[in-house]
Amino acid sequence: MKKNNMVAMILAGGRGSRLFDLTKKVAKPAVHFGGKYRIIDFALSNCANSHISTVGVLVQYESILLSSYSARSSTWGLDSKGGGVYVLSPREKDETGLGLYAGTADAIYQNLDFLDQEEADYVLVLSGDHIYKMDYDKMLKVHQESGAEATIAVIEVPMKEASRFGIMNTDKSDRIVEFEEKPKEPKSNLASMGVYIFSYKTLKKYLKDDAKDPNSQHDFGKNLIPAYLRDGLKLQAYRFKGYWKDVGTISSLWEANMDLLKDNSGLDLFDPDWKIYTDDASATPQCIGENAKIDGAFITQGAIVNGEVTRSVVFSGAEIEEGAKVEDTVVMNNAVIGKGAKLVRCLVADDVKVPDGMKLGKKNSEDILLVSKALIAKAGEDHE
C-alpha cells in the first residue's frame, strides 16, 4: 500500500558556486550544516516525516558523496519495502546519448520513465539546499482540496526584499494569477519557496511540450509555471509560516547556523515529533576540557573544546585547542583551531587546520570570512 501516491523529486544537481571552496569536491546539498547534518537532510527528513516513501534525488555535479549518502535510505527511515531514495543521475538510454540536465524542468523530464514506473499521481518538486521543516502532506491536502493542477509553497518576505525572489500574485482564495521572477516593483510579498506539487498527468504533458520547445530554458519558474498560467490552469499558493532559508551563499549559510543559537528562530531541532535525521557517525561524546569557556554554543558529538567558544557552532570532530578563541564562528567537521588562534565572524571549512596563534576575521566586518585550506596556505605564504 502506497502511503500516498506522491513521489518527491529533490533537485540536487547545482554546483553551488557561490559557496566557493565548500563545493569544490562536494555538491552543495552535501555540505555540512548545524553541527551534525548535511543540508539535504532537511528535505529528506521532511519527506520521511510527511509519510512520503519514494524520493528521487537528481544529481550531476560531484555526485559521488551526495549519491552514496542519499542512497542510504535507512538514514531517514525511507527504506520501507515499497519505497526508497533513488539517486537519478543523467544516463544513457536506448537510442539517446548522455546529456546534462539542461534545467530544473528538463531534469524531471529526463526522469519521466522513473515517475511512470513509480505510478506517481502527484509529484513534489523540492530543492536540495533549503533549511526548513515542512509537512508536505498538509500541502498535498490543500492541493487536492483546491483542485489545482499545481500548488506552490510561498512565504511572506519583507516587501523591500521581495525583488530578490520569484513573486506570486494571488486572488482572495490564494489562487495564483500572476508570477513574476525577481520583479523590480513587486505587487506582493509572497515569495516562491521552490516547493511545488504537480498533478502528474498534466505535468507530464507540459514537460513533453516544453522539451520540444527550442526557445525554452526548461526551467519551472521561467517556463513551466508561465505556460500553466498562460493556458489558464489552476495554480494554488500554499502559505507556509515558519523558518525557511536558502543557504546558497557563505553569509546565508553562516546566518542559518547562527540561527540555531536563538531560542525563537522558528527552527526547533529539539522537537521529537519532527526529527531531522542524518548519518549516524560513530563519534565520541563531546568533550569539554577543564579550562574551556563556553558562552552560547551549539556543539555536537565528537567535538573537543579546550578553548573559548562564544556564540558559535562546532561540528563533529572539530577541535578548539587550549587558548584558542572562536566568536560568532562556524567551525565545520574535523577543523582544528590551533592553540591561541583567534577567530571572529568566520566559517571554517571541513578539515581545515588553523595554525596556532593565527588571527582571522574582524569583529565589525559585514562579511563572513570563509576559512578554507587555500586561505590558510596563502596566509602561510604571506607570513614567510
Binding site: I276, I288, I304, V309
Partner: protein, 371 residues
C-alpha cells in the same frame, strides 16, 4: 581462516550495582552519556572481525534486545549475526539461569550450529579495548588449552573484589586461580575473557554441570589449572570492572578524561551504539561547562563541572552539577545542586534543591524519580 564464535557472558553473581541493576542487566546500563556498557565488548568482537556472536542474558532481556536490534555493530548483516539467548520459561522448558554454564548448556545446539573452531568468551561487566585476534594468535602459538586475558593491577584491595586472581609461573601460565578477597594491592586479575577450542568449551560445560548445579565457567576453569595448560595474555590498557555502583561511577569519571577516552574510542577502534537522532547540544548564554563530557540533545543553562551528562538532559538556570553522572532524559530544574550523584534515566529533579554524595559513596537517584 578458522571460524571464531564470540560468546558474551552475563554478569557473574558478585556484580551488584546498587539501584541501576533494578531496572536492567548491567550490560544494558548507559555509560558516558551515549553508550551502553555492552557496546564496548560487542565492538571488541566486531572490530576483531568476529562475525558470529551469542549474547547471553540472565533475565530482563527487553532493554538489551531493543538496543542491540537498533544498533549497527558493523557486521556484514547477511553473514554476521548477533543472537540473544536468555533464561526464560522457554526453550526446553528451562527456568531462569543461575550460572552461565547452565545457560551455555541449554543453548548448546545453537552454539554447535556455528561449527566454530574457536570460542572467545568475554564478560559483559568489563570495559576495555582488546583485539581478540591477538589472544587467539597467542593461544595457537603457545598451544594452550585455554588462554585467559589478564591484567596486572595495584588496586586489587579496592577493585575487582570477588573476581578471579591468577597465580602465574615463569612462563606466565596459570598455576592457581582464586577469588579476590582484597587482601593484596598488587595482583594479576583475570579479565574473564577466555579463548579455547569449541571442543574444550563443550567439555568444560559438560564437566561443570555434572560437578555442581552452582558451578560457573570460571569455577570449572579454576579446577582445570592442573590437568590443562592454561596460558595468559597480558592486557596493558585501561580496564574498568563495573561490579558496584562505585565502580560504575569511577569508570565514568576516569574515561571522561579526553586522553583516556580517545585511547578507548577512536577511528581505528570505533565503539558502535544506537543512534537516537538527537540534535547537537545547545549551551545557552550563561551556561558554564568545564571538565565534562556531554551527549547530544542537551539544553544547558546552568553550571556543569567535572561530570558526565547523558543524552537529552536539560539543566536549567542556576542549577549546578558537580562530579556527577547524569543518565539520559533527565531534567534538572533551576537552582538544583547535585554533587557526587548518579542520576538514573528519566528523572525529574525539581523540589529537592541539594543532593550531595561523596566520591567514595556517590548518591543514587532512581529511574523516573520525580523529586
Amino acid at each position: 581462516m578458522s571460524k571464531v564464535l564470540g560468546i558474551l557472558n552475563f554478569e557473574p553473581s558478585y556484580v551488584h550495582v546498587r539501584g541501576l541493576e533494578d531496572f536492567r542487566p548491567i550490560s544494558a546500563t548507559s555509560i558516558l552519556g551515549r553508550y551502553r556498557i555492552i557496546d564496548f565488548m560487542l565492538s571488541n568482537f566486531t572490530n576483531s572481525n568476529i562475525e558470529s556472536i551469542k549474547v547471553f542474558i540472565k533475565n530482563r532481556p527487553r532493554s538489551t534486545v531493543e538496543h542491540i536490534s537498533h544498533t549497527s555493530y558493523n557486521l556484514n548483516s547477511k553473514r554476521g549475526k548477533i543472537q540473544l539467548l536468555h533464561g526464560d520459561v522457554d526453550y526446553k522448558n528451562n527456568e531462569l539461569f543461575n550460572v552461565d554454564v547452565q545457560a551455555f548448556k541449554t543453548y548448546m545446539d545453537f552454539i554447535d550450529q556455528e561449527n566454530a573452531s574457536y570460542v572467545v568468551v568475554a564478560p559483559s561487566h568489563f570495559i576495555f579495548k582488546q583485539d581478540f585476534n591477538e589472544i587467539i594468535d597467542e593461544h595457537i602459538k603457545a598451544k594452550n588449552d585455554i588462554t585467559i586475558l589478564c591484567h596486572s593491577t595495584t588496586n586489587a584491595d579496592k577493585r575487582y573484589l570477588m573476581g578471579d586472581l591468577l597465580t602465574l609461573d615463569e612462563n606466565r601460565r596459570v598455576t592457581e586461580m582464586h577469588k579476590n578477597r582484597g587482601t593484596n594491592k598488587k595482583a594479576v586479575v583475570s579479565l574473564e575473557t577466555y579463548v579455547m577450542s569449541a571442543l574444550t568449551f563443550k567439555q568444560l560445560v559438560e564437566e561443570a554441570t555434572t560437578t555442581s548445579s552452582l558451578y560457573s565457567l570460571s569455577d570449572i576453569i579454576a579446577d582445570c589449572v592442573r590437568p590443562m595448560k592454561i596460558g595468559t595474555f597480558q592486557h596493558r590498557g585501561f580496564v574498568a570492572c563495573i561490579s558496584t555502583l562505585n565502580a560504575y561511577y569511577d569508570a565514568n569519571m576516569e574515561i571522561k578524561n579526553e586522553k583516556e577516552m580517545l585511547k578507548l574510542i577512536n577511528e581505528d577502534w570505533p565503539i558502535y551504539t544506537m543512534t537516537n537522532d538527537s540534535c547537537p547540544t545547545l549551551y545557552k548564554p550563561g551556561a558554564k561547562v568545564t571538565g565534562s563530557i556531554v551527549a547530544n540533545g542537551c539544553q544547558i543553562e546552568g553550571t556543569v563541572i567535572n561530570s558526565v551528562i547523558g543524552r537529552n538532559v536539560v539543566v536549567k538556570e542556576g542549577a549546578v552539577i558537580k562530579d556527577s553522572v547524569i543518565l539520559p532524559d533527565t531534567f534538572v530544574d533551576k537552582n538544583v545542586k547535585l554533587e557526587c550523584a548518579v542520576v538514573d534515566r528519566l528523572s525529574i529533579i525539581t523540589h529537592i534543591k541539594e543532593l550531595k554524595g561523596t566520591k567514595e559513596e556517590p548518591i543514587y537517584i532512581k529511574r523516573g524519580d520525580r523529586i
